[in-house]
Each structure stands twice: as C-alpha cells, then as structure tokens.
C-alpha cells in the first residue's frame, strides 16, 4: 500500500492549510520576554512605594521598634541573625518538603487504589475527609504525645494538611479521562495497567498538578502551625519557634524577619510548583498553552 494516490492529499484542503499555528519568537530582555516586563515591574514599583511609606511612617511618627519596626531595621536583623534564622529556615523547609513528598506519594497511591476499586474508595474516602476537616491544631498535641519524636510529629501534621488536595484532585483526574478514549482502550483489549499508564494517569496530570500547587502552600502552613502547637525550643527549631521566642522576648524585628522568611518560602514553593506544572503541561494543556488572542 505504498503507492496510494494520497501523497499530495494534504495540507491542500481549505481549512486544513492554515491550521498549524506559527509561534513567533518574541524579543527578550535579560532572558525574559519583552511583553512580560510590565508584569514584573508594576508589582515591584508598588512594593518599593509601600516599603518607603512604611519606613517613613515609622520614622516620622516615632513608632517604637517593639511595636512596629521599619523595613530597614527588619533587613538589618535578618542579616545580623542570619546564622540562627537560616538554620531554622532549613528545618522548616525540610519538614515542608518531606511532608509534600509524602503527600504526593500517599495521595497519588491512594487515588490510584481508589479508582481501581470502588469499594475501597467508598470505605476509606470518608476517613480521608475526616482527616482533612479536623483542624490540625486540634490533633497536633495528640500526635506529638503518641509519636514522641518531634520532627516526625511535625512531619505528620504537615502531611495531614497537605495530602488531601492531592488525593481528591488526582481521583477527579483519574476519573475524567475521555469516555470515548476509555471505549477505545476497551476495543483494543488494554489491560488495567495499560489503561492506567497510557490513559488515566496522563489525563489526571493537570488535576494532580493543580492539587500540588495547593498542597505546596498547605505543607508549609502545616509545618509552621504544628510547630506553634508543639512549641519546642532548642537549637534545632524551625521558624515558628523563632517567632514564638521573639514574641516572648519582645524582639519584634526578629519576629518580622522570621515572618518574611516564611512568606518568601511560600512564594518560592508556589513558583516551584507552578514551574513544574508549566513544564509538564506546556505542550498540550489549555492552562499552559500560550495563545495569540
């Protein structure tokens, strides 16, 4: 069937011809698309204006630093206490990422198991919901008593907060494969494993990544909240304890410094998960495709 009279068939037919989109390469400044710059500069300008206003207010009104420190003092404190704060930052980040990874592993595994067996889903899903709706602050003391090891307790608390969005989103994604494609897989007598591997998992990817974005922030919140509840001290403490400690000692600039590190971590996690989502979906998913119009 090599000499079919079709070699000239396409793309000559009317509508087909102009179908292939042309991706124009845009001019870049410092590696960033020229059109992206206003989106970067505008919030920066707002930020600088707000910080200046803050600093001026504190100085002109003579507000004491144990009530509200100015941004310059906070920056100095961050620099001066970087030794202690960086250790705490690493501890909080370690718990956050360990919890996030555990949430991904457990969430995705459970989602796959649930979609293979309706009965398992029906029996276990309510408990996942209970775990989700119970405030972590309320169960953290119990977990700390039962587990003993404080780092493991914090990890479990952060995991409880983070895993549900991944579980529920991945279940939704695994069940959202195109019905006709499922029929097609049946026609070709695909095994369960093949249907999972080639159809359900790829179809679930955008949903999973949406869950991951939410869970990234939640893991950080979980790690911080749990440490507040645990209230443990010592050299191996996370950022939450530094905030508590600064509160007791009225070292408000240092409290702000720790707060800023938590916020920056949250922002970094958000950008990291968004970047991963972009890398995974840029070729095909509506959410990641750049459009001209």
């Amino acid at each position: 069937m090599s000499d079919l009279p079709l070699s000239h068939a396409l793309p000559h037919d009317g509508t087909d011809a102009e179908a292939r989109p042309v991706f124009a390469e845009e001019r870049r400044i410092l590696g960033v698309r020229a059109s992206s710059w206003p989106g970067i500069i505008a919030p920066l300008v707002i930020g600088i204006l707000a910080l200046t206003a803050w600093e001026l207010t504190v100085r002109l009104k003579g507000i004491p630093h144990y009530i509200l420190p100015g941004p310059l003092l906070i920056a100095q404190t961050l620099w001066k206490d970087w030794g202690t704060l960086s250790v705490s930052l690493m501890i909080t980040l370690r718990i956050t990422f360990a919890a996030l990874i555990a949430a991904v592993v457990v969430g995705v595994s459970l989602a796959i198991i649930f979609t293979q067996s309706k009965w398992l889903e029906k029996s276990l899903f309510p408990y996942a919901v209970i775990l989700q709706v119970t405030p972590v602050v309320a169960i953290a003391p119990l977990i700390i008593i039962w587990v003993g090891d404080i780092n493991l307790s914090l990890l479990i608390c952060a995991w409880i907060v983070a895993f549900f969005p991944i579980l529920s989103n991945t279940i939704l994604g695994l069940n959202s494969a195109d019905h006709n494609l499922i029929n097609l897989f049946q026609l070709y007598r695909a095994s369960r494993w093949q249907t999972l591997r080639y159809l359900r998992l790829p179809a679930a990817l955008p949903y999973f990544l949406g869950g991951l974005k939410i869970s990234g922030g939640l893991a950080l919140i979980g790690a911080v909240v749990a440490e507040f509840v645990a209230g443990t001290g010592g050299s191996a403490s996370g950022l939450a304890f530094r905030i508590l400690e600064s509160g007791y000692r009225l070292e408000i600039p240092r409290m702000f410094a720790a707060l800023i590190l938590i916020s920056l971590s949250g922002i970094a996690i958000f950008f990291l998960t968004s970047w991963i989502a972009h890398l995974c979906l840029r070729n095909w998913h509506e959410s990641a495709v750049r459009r001209e119009n």
Binding site: L4, P5, L6, A19, R20, L187, Y198, P202, W284, E286
Partner: protein, 263 residues
C-alpha cells in the same frame, strides 16, 4: 440499484435479531438482521435516534445487545468462545489523547498490542503519510485543524490493518470542502486496502457517494427499513457527483429515508 437479497460473498459479521434496550427502558434498536461481507463499503443511513450508532457500537463489542447475536464466523475466537475481530473504530470526535503528538496517538493500538517501539513508530509514520499527514508526526492535536485531527483518528484506526473499519459519523462536524476531501481520501484508502467499511451517516449524499450498499434505518424503535445496493463503479470522484447515476441513487435513498421517517 437493487435490494440486496442473501449473502453472495462470505459474511464477515452476521447480525441476527439484535435488539438493544437501555436501562431507562428506551428501545434503541429492535430485531436487526444484517450480514456484512468481506471488503464491502456499507453505510448505515438514518435520522437521528434510529439507533445506527448503537448498532455500530454493538458490532464493535462496546456494549452487548439485549437480545440477538453478533457472530464473526471468520475471525479468531478465544477459549471462552468470544470473538476477537480485528477492527478499527473512528468516533464522531477525533478522540485523540491531547498529551500525545500525532505519531504517539497513531501508535496507540500497536503499543497496546505490545508491538516494539521502533516497529510501532515506523508503521505509524507510514500510516500518517498515507492519510496525508507526512511532516505532522510531532504535532499535538491542539495544533491540528478538525480535518487533520480526523485524519490522525483514521490513521490510528487503520494502523493495525484491521479487517473492518467502523466509523460513527466521522465527518459530521467538518465543513463541506474538508468533508469532500476526506471522503475521497477514505475511498482511496478503502480501494487500495479493501477492508470492510461500515460508515454511519445521516447524509444521503455522503452515503451514496461512498457506498456499495446503503442500509436505511428508521427510528423509534431503530430498525432496518431497506438494504439498497449501488452498482456505480469505483474509483469515484467529483464527476460522479454530477452523474445521472448519482442523482438516481440519491433520489432512491432519499425516498426510502422519507418513508423511514414517516413510518
């Protein structure tokens, strides 16, 4: 055009007294008898709701009939006696995997059958070239037009060289120019490869242009009204659309369809 009586060539599929009633009580088709012969091009023509898609899905094995049998006398059967016909299926929508490019989409049946990657890629690339998509192997579905996506869908259905190609109103959503082009290319593929083609459509003109045989169905309940034969020779091209033969066939099919709708 004559009414087909009895089986001349050997039957590929033998449909006997097939009925389908859905769980909500709707009777989609009732008492359908049909023999599909090796290598013929058959259209199932009827108004919407006549159960032509349901019948096609039953032939494909997607959903068992409520009553009656579908036999594949010449196909292989497994130990439990279930037939495993080689078939390809084209849905009304292209039904492509958006995360996979045209080549990967075309490869799917081969991948599922455990064919090695290199061989699967080579065969899929060859098939894509045959449907006129050479150079678009790496394109994702979102980068392709409706007509091109349908071509990928046809390539995927034909990549296993099935004995029978089942098509469920595949070109209904396309504009007329693209549809005519795809009709011609489909006929060329069929003419060269001589698989059995079953084409569901609600267009009299499309069914007459393509088929050797037009099975006209009526609705509520879905049933076969007439089994028309067309002796017009292949290959057919745009000239056929202006021929007296074509006009005559269209008139006959339209008349039967009108009776089917009135019945």
């Amino acid at each position: 055009m004559t009414t087909a009586v009895g089986a001349t060539a050997r039957s590929l599929v033998s449909i006997r007294n097939v009925s389908k009633q859905f769980a909500n009580g709707t009777v989609a088709i009732r008492g359908v008898n049909l023999d599909l012969r090796d290598g013929e091009f058959v259209s199932l023509l009827g108004p919407s709701g006549c159960g032509k898609s349901t019948l096609l899905r039953i032939i494909a094995g997607l959903g068992a009939p409520s009553a009656g049998t579908v036999d594949w006398p010449t196909s292989s059967h497994d130990a439990s006696g279930e037939a495993h016909p080689d078939l390809g299926f084209v849905f009304q929508d292209p039904t492509l995997m958006p995360w996979a490019n045209a080549l990967k989409n075309t490869m799917l049946p081969l991948t599922l059958a455990g064919v090695g990657k290199a061989e699967a890629e080579a065969r899929s690339a060859e098939m894509l070239a045959l449907v006129g998509l050479k150079g678009f192997e790496k394109s994702y579905p979102r980068e392709l037009s409706g007509g091109m996506k349908m071509r990928v869908s046809i390539a995927r259905a034909l990549v296993t060289h099935p004995k029978i190609l089942l098509m469920d109103e595949p070109f209904a959503a396309l504009d007329e120019i693209t549809r005519h082009k795809l009709n011609d290319d489909l006929l060329a593929l069929w003419w060269q490869n001589r698989f059995t083609a079953v084409f569901v459509t609600h267009s009299v003109f499309e069914s007459v242009y393509l088929s050797q045989r037009i099975v006209v169905m009526a609705a509520r309940p879905g049933r076969v009204m007439a089994d028309l034969r067309s002796e017009a020779p292949y290959p057919r091209d745009a000239l056929f659309r202006t021929s007296a033969d074509y006009a005559h066939l269209c008139r006959a099919a339209s008349g039967t369809l009108r009776e089917a709708i009135a019945a």
